[in-house]
Symmetry: C2
Subunit: 430 residues, 2 copies
Amino acid sequence: MGSDMDGRKPKVVILGGGFGGLAAARELRDAPVSVTLVDRRNHHLFQPLLYQVATASLNASDVAEPIRKVLADQPNTEVLLAEVDRIDVDAKTLTFTDGDGLGYDYLIVAAGATHSYFGHDEWEENAPSMKNIEDALDVRRRLLLAFEAAERAKDPESREAWLTFVIVGGGPTGVELAGSLAEMARHALKGEFRHFEPATARVVLIEGLERVLPGFPPKLSAWARKDLESMGVEVQTGTMVKSIDEYGVDLDGHRIKSRTVLWAAGVRASPIGESLGAELDRSGRVTVEPDLSLPGHREVFVVGDLALVVQDGKPVPGVAQAALQGGRHAASCIVASLSGKPSTPFRYKDKGMLAAIGRAAAVADLPNVELTGSVAWVIWALVHIYFLIGFRNRLFVMASWSYAFLTHDRGARLITGSPQVRSRWEKPRY
Amino acid sequence: MGSDMDGRKPKVVILGGGFGGLAAARELRDAPVSVTLVDRRNHHLFQPLLYQVATASLNASDVAEPIRKVLADQPNTEVLLAEVDRIDVDAKTLTFTDGDGLGYDYLIVAAGATHSYFGHDEWEENAPSMKNIEDALDVRRRLLLAFEAAERAKDPESREAWLTFVIVGGGPTGVELAGSLAEMARHALKGEFRHFEPATARVVLIEGLERVLPGFPPKLSAWARKDLESMGVEVQTGTMVKSIDEYGVDLDGHRIKSRTVLWAAGVRASPIGESLGAELDRSGRVTVEPDLSLPGHREVFVVGDLALVVQDGKPVPGVAQAALQGGRHAASCIVASLSGKPSTPFRYKDKGMLAAIGRAAAVADLPNVELTGSVAWVIWALVHIYFLIGFRNRLFVMASWSYAFLTHDRGARLITGSPQVRSRWEKPRY
């Protein structure tokens, strides 16, 4: 057990240092409680910019900040690096994977989501997705190695397969990845290879529904598609993936030969939700009360991607804003409960949605207006800088973007990983 | 085989994209040859600043630059990502670990060095050293995890062992690591832990000889020691390591309990030297002719850490400057040979030695003057920025140093690695 700093204060444990957990911890800054935030990583990750780590635009540390640094100035809060194995809501304890554990008076579960292959977990090996820094660095490695393998390829067919990149999933992450990758091939790598022109690389974006960015208004989807196509991205909508292997993707009726497939199609809630004993929906989300508490356990709250909150007949989307607002709400319910007040129902306030497409191009679906192009991109950039945690990160991300804008250069084109030859990616077949 | 871009031009193959290899390639920019640079990594690494990656001051990509980007503007040069398994100097071929290969007319071997445990390879697991990016990120991970483990430690003895850091080797790398680590504990981590004060961390620097920085004049060694001690580093000179295990280090007569030991004591030349068929010294370096060519093979040159060059009765040191000058010299010998001229003997020009100690403190042993303190640090900083490759890297390293100087903050305090619990470092024992 973590030592009890103040035995008389109620103990609030927060599981997860993402948007929800961190917002909850900050909201409790001045509350008469002792807060312990537990995360299996030492850093908060700004997931909306993770694709820029994968495409070598930003450093891993630009989009991450040590959790204990963020909360260093909160004397009532401690941070523990530990992985939670299970939660016992009756005993009010968490057990860590290393056998250690922690008790609580109040618990906020903000464990987030992981990727889902819709029952085809075997696709993951050949179509990785990105939820954390390691994932993003693995994708970066695969992208850069594909170009290296193409340079050494012995026949045009093999080279073409190395230079074909398929991204499955046309939501914001897929769109942003496709745009950034197409731009990298056309600009950042220009003139560096002797056996092919990087601009000839094919970037194919596959979406099962009838349009990209299906969560956005149709007009913005159409604009995004046009912009992606102008950058050379091939967009295939209404197309389902039937199988993925090392050499390509089978779609309805046709096959794309590709050595690099990325998955941006599905998420499912963290498996820790299962130990809460509540009802889960198809994607593992926990059904919560209107105040975000666990049915039958007013002292346990579930927020962010792990919570299923239905509002106006629709589930609240799994976005940063919803997690942030949920975390704050759960914390305020705890503060209310401490002074004997009833908790209030949570109400998600949709502040709009943004997706970047390429160099100074984005779409913005704001409450009263729909924007496209460079105006939307400026809003996108400002919002992302604003919500990025850490002054240094803000400074260096702005500097990186400015430098990239002026030079088309990408600052983090490193292939890292095991120095040993371990997989096909380190020892490309030609 | 890489495709032959111009069959009539002599083919120069350079093995290694470090200081020596890159300098050779650049020197051949306008030569009537076709150059192929082969490296198993996609980036040139600026090793002198690698310790700052390990201590979370710089990003990996700040000290590395894609080799093909550096050489993109040399039309006569191609870059291949491949690991060379062996060299056949009679057949004039290289064979890659993936079975592929390459022929040459001229060969420059600049494969560098790796670490040496003086016959105790079993120490490596518990006392890693740093030669590449992955090594540095592993060290960063161990350092940061030790503080996390200390926060969760259950008894003072265990906490103390997690907060004791031993660095073996008092050369420039060991001194720079010790200084940077002491500074991180005292400043960057201040106020972030609830169960101990990071400034109480012990940093112990062990050196077998009678003084630190044994390659420097005694006056500078004494100054460096005093400065390290003023930063809280315990310096133990004339002390030999007898054994290293997971829980500490045995020295002559005493034991230091420590969960984090780093090795900065020895290097040995790349094993590729063995396939050259020439005489090797005790640390695997290849004995070369005065012009750096391989005895009996005027078309093969060995430069940098892999070459044993004796000058004025002493071996030329394994430093960046020597590799740079050697690479340039080998290239110029090839150019001379093309026009039928004889090659000239190599002469290393010692431009001095520098070692940073802490915040704005360094020692500089320059040809005509010995400097210490902030003046030496300014020279150190300027020289490192100057030799760093890539304009963006220079800009961002300067920005990082300036920011760190003003705030004591470190920008890259990420624990990354496998998200699975794999080793004792991910699942600390308490």
